[in-house]
């Protein structure tokens, strides 16, 4: 299947505006053909609304703060749209990565390869 038929929502869970990481990832995903909807700094309600309204196939969260803020958004997305895949990047320390993985969220910490992230997007949206 063609990546261009797949939509990815990208959001930042915190009020921390470091935009380097998500911008690079968004560019790589767009270069791979995906449609990327970036909503920037968003709270749980914003993320859940966008996931529904935009009818996305994958959610990418940039996490720069406490893992519990992200977990609240993840659980709400999972309750509203069961089965919608989620992956995450950012300054996610090892203990927090484990918590996210336990919720079925794939984690791409700093130093991850863009090729691996694009590969994950294709796998999680079923284009590969």
């Amino acid at each position: 299947m063609d990546n261009s038929q797949k939509r990815i929502l990208m959001a930042k869970t915190g009020l921390d505006g470091h935009w380097r990481g998500p911008t690079i990832v968004a560019r790589a995903l767009r270069d791979a053909g995906f449609e990327v909807i970036m909503i920037g700094m968003a709270n749980t309600n914003d993320i859940v609304s966008a996931a529904v309204d935009e009818d996305v196939d994958l959610v990418g969260l940039n996490i720069g703060g406490h893992i519990d803020v992200a977990i609240r958004a993840i659980q709400q997305v999972q309750a509203t749209r069961p089965g919608l895949p989620i992956f995450a990047g950012g300054t996610i320390p090892p203990h927090a990565a484990k918590e996210l993985e336990a919720l079925g969220v794939e984690v791409y910490p700093p130093g991850s390869q863009l090729a691996d992230i694009v590969d994950a997007a294709e796998r999680l949206t079923g284009t590969k």
Partner: protein, 543 residues
């Protein structure tokens, strides 16, 4: 260092091609005459002082803060006990940067984030707790307020506490930074005042300090925040001076204080020290030279007390890796070395756990130890400008000056620094560089040890993220309610009204801000005035 496809062609981060070795003939003609100028003499590329670190060791100055004000106070005291020679108070990003109280819906939605990157300080009472027992009369203090819209609050709070403790504002030294690059380029807030209002705030601070706090660095432009967002060293230099010109032109337009004194105030800046050691050392040399040129040529200022740039430097957080974090101790040392060889007066070394979290106590201690070992054991402090006269270093210094002025001119063609922020032009430059830098790592052209090569890790130490405290939000909520319940309400209301009137007029806002802090007006109330009076900056990038 990036390699082109031609293996023989190597360029430094600024894109200047490097030769395998240099000779005297490589040094540009115009720069040759400067080589024998002594450190401490104009144009100052060789250093700020003839005896350099022998008489004036660089200040060990670490960014610090998290949790409740008392948590931050404890960490600062820990650092001072371990040999830090200045101190930095960091305010919480959720509340401070946005001028929100903890009861703002966007903060409540992220309550666990509160206090993660700085202490929550919503009133002068909180700031008093954070400053308890700190040597504010004998040390160089950073009051926080790195963010432009937050600086008037943070500074006024610090000064109000200093006054309450009986200190003469005319004698205390420090800074609050108030830097555009931080939240208009690097780490963009969800809401903030437009850039023209920010320029007015900074000019107000410069004028207020001129009258009341002559030893204070009123604004400190942070090239760091531009560089760690993606600008190359030459662009970092050009951007910093384009920013300085905005301040000086505004002060000149207002005509209320001598420009020399404003230039002195703007001449305490900070840069990023990245990993290309020699290029970074050259950058610091170039910066001093450029400041001298700028003041002399654009403003006719030749007073060497003014045109001698003072530099604080922080090692590049973005160069610290998540993988094999102990390797970052070496990276921190290498980056610190570049800054020191360039003759900076103040230095912070990023924690080895930078890519995971804010620094743990041990990571913080290590950042201090790196500096102490360099300062006390290596002999690096013995001779000023140890690289001076090197064919390579003098050539690259001169080339950086030239390339940085070209970038400065590019910004001027965009309408100036603030216009280049408003339009997103600077963000586009940074984004393109970020991507190229990332792709060089991705392809392996740029090796990052432990990340894209040599990934085997035998370390017996498990480094995990330091998460601070978990009661910052709850305690801040209690304390906010307590202030609102127990302050003199009519005095607070009156002071807040006066602040609003002054914001709407062209009066300097700082006197009213001082009165507001004394009357225990809170951060979020002040932020509400800003949002009402100034509106919101139209962010040119999608974060």
């Amino acid at each position: 260092m990036t390699e082109n496809s031609d293996k023989n062609s190597i360029a430094c981060s600024s894109g200047i091609e490097l030769k395998p070795y240099y000779t005297a003939a490589d040094i540009p003609e115009a720069h040759r005459a400067r080589i024998d100028v002594a450190p401490g003499e104009a144009p100052f590329h060789r250093g700020f002082h003839p005896s350099g670190y022998r008489s004036k060791p660089w200040r060990i100055f670490q960014l610090s803060g998290f949790g409740k004000p008392e948590d931050e106070n404890e960490r600062i005291k820990f650092l001072l006990r371990n040999g830090e020679t200045g101190f930095i108070m960091e305010h919480d990003r959720n509340t401070g940067d946005h001028c929100y109280n903890v009861n703002h819906p966007e903060v409540i939605a992220r309550r666990e984030d509160v206090g993660l990157t700085g202490a929550v300080m919503q009133s002068v009472r909180d700031v008093a707790i954070c400053m308890d027992g700190l040597p504010i009369d004998s040390s160089f203090g950073h009051a926080g307020g790195a963010v432009v819209q937050h600086a008037p609050f943070a500074l006024a709070a610090y000064w109000t506490v200093a006054k309450q403790r009986g200190f003469d504002l005319g004698k205390i030294a420090g800074t609050g930074q108030s830097d555009f690059n931080l939240t208009y380029l690097g780490c963009v807030t969800k809401e903030q005042i437009p850039t023209d209002a920010g320029l007015r705030f900074n000019a107000d601070i410069i004028e207020f300090c001129d009258q009341h706090l002559p030893r204070w660095v009123p604004v400190s432009i942070a090239g760091y925040n531009a560089a760690d967002t993606g600008l190359t060293p030459d662009q970092e230099l050009g951007t910093l001076f384009a920013n300085a010109v905005e301040y000086l032109d505004e002060i000149k337009r207002r005509g209320k204080m001598p420009l020399e004194r404003a230039a002195r105030g703007c001449g305490g800046v900070s840069f990023r020290a990245s990993i290309h050691i020699i290029e970074e050392a050259c950058k610091m040399r170039a910066a001093r030279l450029m400041w001298n040129q700028l003041l002399s040529e654009r403003y006719g200022i030749n007073d060497t007390k003014v045109s001698n740039l003072r530099i604080h430097c922080v090692t590049a957080g973005s160069k610290m890796t998540y993988q094999q974090p102990l390797n970052n101790i070496v990276r921190g040392t290498a980056m610190a070395l570049g800054a020191i060889l360039g003759g900076v007066q103040s230095l912070g070394v990023s924690g080895y756990d930078e890519a995971l979290s804010i620094p743990s106590e041990h990571a913080h201690q290590m950042s201090v130890r790196i500096q102490q070992i360099l300062q006390e054991e290596t002999g690096i402090s013995d001779v000023t400008d140890p690289l001076g006269g090197s064919y390579y270093v003098e050539t690259l210094t001169a080339q950086l000056v030239e390339k940085a002025w070209q970038f400065f001119e590019s910004i001027q063609r965009q309408g100036g620094y603030l216009a280049a922020l408003d339009s997103g032009w600077l963000h586009a430059q940074a984004a393109e560089n970020q991507y190229q830098e990332f792709m060089a790592t991705e392809s392996g052209a740029q090796k990052i040890i432990g990340v894209n090569c040599f990934r085997e890790d035998e370390s017996p130490f498990h480094v995990d993220g330091f998460m601070g405290t978990d009661d910052a939000f709850d305690v801040a909520t209690e304390r906010l309610n307590d202030v609102l319940r127990t302050r003199h309400e009519s005095a607070a209301a009156k002071a807040l009204k006066q602040l609003e009137l002054d914001c709407r007029s062209d009066r300097n806002i700082m006197p009213a801000m001082m009165d507001a802090l004394s009357a225990e007006v809170t951060l979020g109330e002040i932020g509400d005035v800003y949002r009402e009076v100034f509106g919101n900056w139209n962010t040119p990038i999608q974060t």
